[in-house]
């Protein structure tokens, strides 16, 4: 191999490698990097979307905190009635199926029927239900007055409250 050939081969090979390296870097700069940057931007946008979804769930947080501060077991309506209207006949109570909330919470529902009761006692009972911890909420109420001044009435009442499921039960 002559000297000039040797130089040509050495420089040529190196130049080929250099060209390949430059081509590679050029490809990275022109094609690969923009595509990667676009993917990165897409991932960041997805993370922001997750943040927005989380904000949507944040509005429930105060309720969960409020529930966590309670015993998790709402008092029995019959007991509340007995407390606010001692001596008066109690309601007929029928429990319906529980609806799952975020574990371990569920919505407990009960239907109360009074054949005849004093409307004043009913007001006190509903107030006691609202201030219980966790509170009972009257979701539906039917009242039929039994006298002209509506001091006595036949009442049907649907109550619901959040209750913590006992440990070991499936939500």
């Amino acid at each position: 191999m002559t000297l000039s050939t040797l130089r040509r081969v050495a420089i040529g090979t190196s130049a080929a490698f250099a060209l390949a390296a430059l081509g590679w870097v050029g490809w990275i700069g022109a094609v690969d990097a923009p595509a990667r940057h676009a993917r990165l931007e897409g991932l960041r946008a997805e993370l922001r979307e997750l943040g927005r979804l989380e904000e949507g769930l944040e509005r429930f947080a105060p309720y969960w905190r409020a529930l966590e501060s309670t015993s998790g077991a709402p008092p029995a309506p019959a007991d509340l009635w007995a407390a606010v209207a001692p001596g008066l006949p109690g309601p007929e109570v029928a429990a319906s199926a529980e609806q799952p909330l975020r574990p371990p919470w569920r919505v407990r529902r009960q239907e109360l029927s009074f054949a005849e009761t004093a409307t004043d006692a009913l007001g006190a009972f509903l107030e006691a239900c609202g201030t219980a911890r966790p509170p009972w909420r009257a979701s539906s109420l039917r009242l039929h007055a039994l006298d002209a001044g509506a001091t006595r009435a036949r009442v049907w009442l649907a109550l619901e409250a959040a209750a913590r499921a006992p440990e070991g039960t499936t939500p």
Partner: protein
Amino acid sequence: MQTVPMRTRISYGVDIGAHGGVCVRAVRDWRGRVQTTLLHRADGGIAEAIRSDLRPGRAALVCAAVSATDTAIRRLKVPFASRRRARKVLPSLLDVQLPFRLEDAVAAFPEVRLDGGNVVGLGVACPLDAAWRRLEDLAAKGLDPEILDCEALAAWESAAREGPPADGAARIVVHATPERWLLAIGDARGLETVLTLRNPPPDDNAIPGEGEPTALRRLRAAAVVARGEAGRAVEWAWLGRPAAYVARWRDRAMGEPALAGRLVPVEAPEAALARALAVRALEGSAWAANLRRGRLAHRGWMRCQQREAVRAAAALLAAAALVASVGAVHRWRLGREEAALRDRLAREAARLGGLARVQPGFEVRMAREAVERSRAEWAPVERLFQPGPAAVLAGLLRAATQAGASFHTVEITDRVVNIEGSGPSRDSPRALGDLLRLLGREVRLVTCEAPSPEGRWSFTLEGRQP
């Protein structure tokens, strides 16, 4: 023009023959100026003088010349406008003008320039056996020059350094030694042709000597060639050695009416050729005319060239590796950032959606579906904390008491309020309707056209959540 491959600032020009020798050292300073010094003037001992002059560890070029009697110099003209294309045909053009075969010679083209629409070149060729012989002579004296320059070119340049030929004038540079005479003829455009005298007059202080008629005849012939048909003025430059021999023959020739012309003063004519060789070696022009090429190439120079090639290739590879590494690191960092983001996205989606496993690429979709399920499932908890029918009933009872109205039946859910009752006047239930409107219900109130026998007005009130 070839660049000087060795990064040296020192060169030695050696003009050596059977009748003595001269060595000149040229040094290029940091400003690029070349300074020359006469190092040695004797037949032998040049190699030793160079070795003792050169400090250990310093590199230097040695430049000698091949005799003009052994070289052929031809001016070539190619009707091409491209020097690159012209270079391809110059060897063929030179070959047909040589008295020997180009394959048996070593050739160089130290000058290739554009002249109008043509390319003008200067071809130099020396038979291989003559070049070998010259190298062997030099080797016998302990010299192994990196550059074997052309004597005629160096002689012409040594005179040109004293000042270029006047416009329209021809110049004859005579390099005279008792061995041979060299007559380089040209003008302001450069060297045109070379005449030699193989058997010059001896250095015996005799004028005229035995060779005198031949020498004068050759000088006259050169003058005729130089003047040409235009009868140009001739400038004479005399150099050679020994100095007394040159001075004697210069004075003799200049006394001839046929050789009249301006005499170009040459500083230290004895060392002029060696000086030109040394300077040409440093400035690079000697490399273009270097006849040590191909099989005659200097081993050290070849090694140097190889080293330079390897160094250049290594530098190129290193630069390529650096560039590639920067690219690779950038790519790796982007890849790592992407992986970290994907990992974080999967973790966030799993946490938010309460998912055990998230399929890559579907993180947001799976999390959104899970969140929507959760929101639908959790929605009742909001309702549990809202005021219910009890509050509505309390408000209605207060309003009814104030209006003197009484209820017969009341039905309240989150969406609907239905009341049947009676009041002391037709307008008494209006207050109840206003209350329901304040609670955001659409109200429909129906009152009887006439009161009951007890004087009470029955009504039906409906409030519906829009």
